[in-house]
């Protein structure tokens, strides 16, 4: 990890600009390998001790036509000298394989004045006069927008090494980026050797040649050079995305059975487990649908095995009835919901936090359960372990809400140190004490020990019907009420064990408090930090427990003049045509208003994009402005 100093000294020619962080994008038609190159570059940065966050840029269609605006496919890599927690605002440097895909990014506000654009220039001399014209017009337009465009003969250079530059260009670009950011080319060669290890030596050698060529080309011809210093003492790290973190968490939590049905953006958890789960003796079951998946997991759990199902919004909807049964029958179960845009098929590949209330209240009748939300990729790992423990301690399903932003974001995180006690011990098959009933509720906590098939003396029938302590069906008023109370008491007991959330900023209070949950933490805190740097009185609180909510919220909220719930789900904006009293608040605001009776406002975005620090900063300005106008 100490080599980065040497790297900087070795390749820096004095003209290298040192920056605390940089946002780089590679954008292309799909199938041109931009994501592969970007991931490799992210790995190079991470392995060189930089903080990194990568986000995939996904086209709207699987195979969009070439050179189309909707076809923008690629990757964003944010590199920094400290831990990077979000995708940031506009890009600083972009490599584009054609000019049309850039338009796609422009509509998403991905660039700013001064953004460096390294653009493939083969289109300038294309056989088609239309393409030549499109290219020329774009060039002019981009320059008018204030982008700094550098035209590069990428294809021409690659043709010196391969007859198929379409698939080789990405590695040429990887080499270029290493030169531009002052990393040793060997780092990139290592990544390529790993990426192409199954394709044979010839392929590796060709890609190495392209990387070296890109590196040399950039050193000789590209006039811009940057240096992002390394993080101090990054420690032992692993580089994963949120779904891999969930998969690793599942294994480290000793979960024995994962049953799922493929659904974007949750599927890659199963891809990872498909590769690795058998190594810990686990079973990955691809069921015939989401209902069967949770049914299978519930069966395994009933039989004493730790079980989990992984899904996204539409799948969660299908699992609803079984979730209610798990609550009623009091079965431990971990459900991971990697949220995407809704309703219906919505935005399958994009981020939203729209399943919050469905998770908490989505079942028929009252079905209290634990809902937790990791805020970081690191927490994606640890929350699965927490979820399994809570599920067993309280004999209840636990929903873990992540989202597409966490799922696909790649980041170096501290390497977890798995503990033996995280793993499920062998199931208890000792005779059951017949005096203990199947639902021997502790009236304080609602918790009870659970008989498992195979235990003589513990025979009981799990039923979704209203039942008594001894699992007998009972329709009388008292039995139903007591069952409801006991199941609800679990949340009360858990809440007592939780601590109030920490305030980011000024704990003693101030003008504005932003409340977030899930993947938005990095962006919110960066936006708040920026505003605080300018002397503004704004703080943030980030929630991890959504059901039950963390305690002490009302007390914290009352210290601020205004509290705003932030999220990636819909709410009517303040200036919407609807009467103010009838405004539809955000899902988080509804929860918080109910819990605290504080007049919590909402600020939300539903653009299928992660929140950026800049938009948070703007929201802060907006709310502080309103507050000032109200006071004056």
């Amino acid at each position: 990890m100490s080599t980065h100093v040497a790297e900087a000294a070795g390749t820096g020619s004095g003209s290298r600009t040192t920056v605390p962080q940089h946002i780089i994008e590679i954008v292309s038609d799909s199938g041109e390998g931009a994501q592969k190159a970007g991931q490799a570059f992210g790995a190079v940065c991470a392995k060189s001790g930089r903080g990194v966050w990568t986000v995939e840029i996904i086209p709207a269609e699987i195979k969009p036509p070439a050179r189309s605006q909707a076809g923008a496919s690629g990757i964003r890599i944010r590199v920094g000298s400290r831990t990077v927690t979000n995708m940031g605002d506009e890009a600083d440097l972009v490599v584009a394989f054609n000019e049309q895909v850039l338009y796609g990014r422009i509509t998403q506000h991905a660039f700013r004045k001064g953004t460096n654009i390294l653009l493939e220039n083969r289109w300038a001399t294309d056989d088609s006069p239309e393409i030549r014209e499109l290219y020329a017009n774009a060039l002019q337009e981009f320059r008018e927008k204030g982008f700094v465009v550098h035209e590069l003969p990428l294809e021409q250079e690659c043709l010196k090494h391969t007859s198929n530059p379409r698939v080789g260009k990405n590695m040429f670009v990887l080499g270029m980026l290493c030169s531009i950011y002052g990393f040793e080319v060997e780092r990139a060669l290592e990544e390529a050797a790993f990426l192409f290890r199954k394709k044979g030596e010839k392929v590796v050698a060709l890609n190495h040649e392209l990387i070296r060529a890109g590196y040399a080309y950039a050193s000789d011809h590209i006039p811009i050079q940057f240096f992002v210093p390394a993080r101090p003492n990054p420690g032992k790290s692993i580089v994963v995305n949120g779904n891999q973190a969930v998969g690793l968490g599942i294994m480290a939590a000793g979960i024995d059975v994962v049953a799922m049905y493929p659904i974007t953006p949750a599927t890659s958890v199963s891809h990872y487990l498909g590769e690795a789960f058998h190594r810990v003796g686990g079973l990955l079951h691809q069921a015939e649908d989401e209902i069967a998946a949770i049914g299978f997991a519930i069966g395994a759990s009933y039989a004493g095995k730790t079980a989990c199902t992984v899904t996204s919004g539409p799948g969660l909807a299908l699992k609803t009835e079984f979730l209610g049964l798990a609550v009623m029958g009091e079965l431990p179960l971990v459900i991971v919901d990697v949220q995407r845009g809704g309703p219906s098929t919505g935005l399958p590949t994009k981020v939203e936090q729209g399943d919050l209330l469905a998770s908490i209240w989505g079942q028929p009748g009252d079905s209290p359960k634990v809902v937790i939300a990791p805020a970081t990729i690191e927490e994606c790992f640890h929350f699965v372990i927490t979820a399994r423990k809570l599920a067993e301690a309280f004999r209840t399903p636990v929903i873990v809400l992540t989202d597409a932003n966490l799922a696909t974001g790649v980041q170096p995180i501290p390497r977890p140190n798995p503990q033996e006690e995280w793993l499920a011990p062998p199931i208890d098959q000792a005779p059951w004490d017949k005096k203990v009933l199947a639902y021997d509720w502790d009236v304080e906590s609602g918790a009870s020990p659970r008989p498992i098939p195979g235990q003589p003396g513990g025979e009981y029938v799990l039923t979704g019907l209203s039942h008594t302590k001894d699992a007998h069906v009972a329709y009388d008023p008292d039995s139903n009420r007591v069952g409801m109370e006991m199941r609800s008491r679990k949340l009360a007991a858990l809440q007592k064990a939780l601590k109030p959330p920490k305030v980011f900023g000024d704990e003693s209070g101030g003008d504005l408090l932003l409340v977030g949950w899930g993947s938005t933490q990095g962006a919110i805190e960066e936006g708040v930090e920026r505003a605080r740097g300018e002397g503004q009185s704004v703080s943030a609180v980030h929630l991890r427990f959504m059901s039950p909510l963390e305690p002490g919220l009302e007390e914290i909220f009352r210290r601020f003049k205004k509290v705003v719930a932030i999220g990636i789900h819909y709410s009517d904006p303040e200036d919407s045509p609807i009467d103010k009293p009838n405004r539809r608040r955000s899902q988080l605001a509804i929860l918080l208003r109910d819990q605290t009776l504080v007049d919590v406002d909402s600020w939300t975005r539903v653009e299928g994009q992660p929140l950026s620090p800049g938009t948070i900063y703007d929201a802060i300005q907006d709310h502080l402005g309103r507050l000032a106008r109200k006071e004056s």
């Binding site: 810990v280 009933y302 049964l325 008989p451 195979g454 029938v461």
Partner: protein, 317 residues
């Protein structure tokens, strides 16, 4: 909650189980309901096989017939309408030691749960599945079922069912990886017992469709069949349901039927003139999903930890 107890006995004293050890609460089906006979048959098989009650799990969906687990004194799972099979497969997936009996109705299995039915047949896990086919929705009080005959009058089709009924046997004999299909009638306990025992002994998913009287709503559907056993065709074979003097006496029509022949089984199932009873099809060589799902059972905690650390190291920088 988990964790081994130190006083766990490795050498339990020999136990002998009587019928009472399998008899749960008093069954609350209507007088004359065919479900009673099935319950008795299962309890008898449990006793004959001396299955420890703690190792038996009765799994069901929702419906009159799905009350079944409550009347067994074993472990039971009375879950959701249409969904007993995924639960049963989940239980079995990591507990090869458990003996699973699934009770499902014609609405439960062939309508709301039809998707799971097809796939459970394909998974072919080692369990016994009993389809209580009374050709009507009983619990919800007389609605048409997918197996109701044309003209069957119910609350949802007071002028008579319009669509041809779904034939569960023919359907199943077309599902991939089907390995055991039998048919019995609730009013012939000897036959019912013999076929359920064959299904239970079968390694794989032993599926028995039971023509089951619902005296309240569909008694008339099976009345003729019950009165005139000559409308039934008993299928026997040395490799299937062996002929016994009792069976010989009870069924005027019988036929030698080799259950290993899928083509013949399909022909037998399609015979609606003479309703076949017996073992229509059996192929113990079909792959069972259990062999896949049991992989890795018993992996030690040390090995798991080593593997997890190795996995984390794959992502290390």
């Amino acid at each position: 909650m988990f964790g081994l107890k130190t006083d766990w006995e490795l050498d339990p004293p020999p136990r002998y189980f009587t019928l009472e050890d399998y008899e749960g609460g008093v069954a609350r089906w209507c007088p004359g309901c065919g479900d009673f006979g099935v319950l008795t048959a299962v309890q008898r098989i449990c006793r004959e096989q001396q299955l420890p009650p703690e190792k038996v799990v009765a799994v069901s969906g929702i419906g009159c017939s799905s009350r079944f687990p409550h009347y067994m004194k074993t472990y039971g799972f009375h879950g959701l309408h249409g969904r007993p099979l995924p639960v049963a497969c989940g239980i079995k997936s990591r507990r090869p030691d458990l003996d699973i009996w699934v009770a499902t109705g014609d609405g439960d299995c062939c309508s709301i749960g039809a998707g799971h039915w097809i796939h459970a047949i394909r998974y072919n896990m080692d369990m016994t599945v009993m389809l209580f086919d009374n050709a009507v929705y009983g619990l919800t009080k007389n609605q048409t079922s997918p197996t109701s005959p044309v003209g069957f009058k119910s609350n949802t089709h007071p002028r008579g069912a319009w669509l041809p009924p779904l034939d569960p046997l023919q359907a199943m004999l077309g599902f991939t990886n089907v390995s055991f299909v039998g048919q019995a009638v609730d009013w012939n306990p000897i036959l019912l017992h013999a076929i359920l025992r064959q299904a239970h002994a079968h390694k794989g998913l032993g599926f028995v469709r039971i023509l089951q009287r619902c005296p309240t709503y569909s008694g008339h559907v099976f009345q003729d069949l019950q009165k005139s056993p000559d409308q039934l065709l008993l299928l026997t074979h040395d490799d299937g349901l062996p002929m016994t003097p009792e069976l010989d006496r009870l069924f005027p029509n019988k036929e030698q039927h080799d259950p290993s022949d899928l083509g013949k089984a399909r022909i037998a199932a399609a015979n609606h003139e003479r309703i076949p009873v017996g073992v229509l099809f059996r192929d113990p060589s079909r792959p069972i999903y259990d062999d896949f799902t049991n992989y890795g059972l018993g992996t030690s905690v040390e090995d798991k930890l080593d593997s997890i650390n190795a996995e984390l190291d794959r992502f290390a920088i």
